[in-house]
Amino acid sequence: MSGFKIDTKKEESVSVVRISGFLDAHTAHELEAEFQGITSKGDYKILVNFAGLDYISSAGLGVFMGFIELVRENGGDIKMCEMNVKIYKIFDLLGFPNLYEIFDTQAEAIEKFKD
């Protein structure tokens, strides 16, 4: 048991990646593989739902940084939603909110992809 789960579903044209558990140096490669799979299919609209995520370290943050350029170069984006305060504070320490759009609800984020 890795303590980290990923569940990806397509909603309209957006790949919604629900992550739960902890995202650290042990589990980050699982998210990396998931993003690899999504982008290799030519899907570049990715929404990560953080509702079930309890913990993130820099190894997890690195995965988002590793894919954002590729995704944006292809007209897509990685957006985020439903992040708990503890995790938002870590993002904030590194200035991530300037780089990624973070929404309170999944519906808002999906709507934003239509712009």
Partner: protein, 150 residues
């Protein structure tokens, strides 16, 4: 009657693989709470500890389950927590401590993420020190307790 000041001392030894980061985090989380740190401060101490051990596992031990990480923790309630992390892995060049907020956009261009952990540790803790003692790599971390206004 004067209250006795009791120093709490803890020791954890785990094989140096990333799978054990969770055990390390749970261990430090418990102690941090015992010392009286808030939930948020405890989360920060936990993160700094994780980042340090993840660095040791990657650069010194190279995820070798036969190598150990030894963690000594001492603290005094509502005063401080001090953590000493030792390994007998390869000696690695001690990184320069970065205290400026990293330029994330520049990081993206250079596709590097390595410095983020170190930045987090130095931001979240009051002291971080890297030493080489004999055949051991040693990292020292300290966080002081700050009394909150009621």
């Amino acid at each position: 009657m004067e209250a006795k000041i009791i120093q709490k001392v803890f020791l954890l030894q785990v094989p140096g693989v990333t799978e054990n980061l969770k055990i390390v985090r749970d261990f430090i989380n418990e102690i941090s709470q015992q010392i009286g740190f808030s939930e948020q401060e405890t989360a920060y101490i936990e993160l700094a500890m994780d980042e340090t051990c993840a660095n040791v596992i990657e650069h010194a031990i190279k995820n070798d389950p036969l190598q150990k990480i030894v963690i000594h923790v001492k603290g005094i309630e509502k005063k401080f927590i001090e953590i000493k992390i030792e390994d007998k892995g390869e000696s690695f060049e001690f990184p320069k401590i970065k205290t400026e907020i990293p330029d994330i956009k520049k990081y993206l261009k250079e596709r590097k993420t390595g410095g983020l952990g170190l930045y987090l540790i130095s931001t979240l803790m009051d002291k971080i020190e890297f030493l080489r003692e004999g055949n051991k790599n040693v990292v020292l971390l300290r966080k002081n307790f700050i009394k909150r206004k009621e």
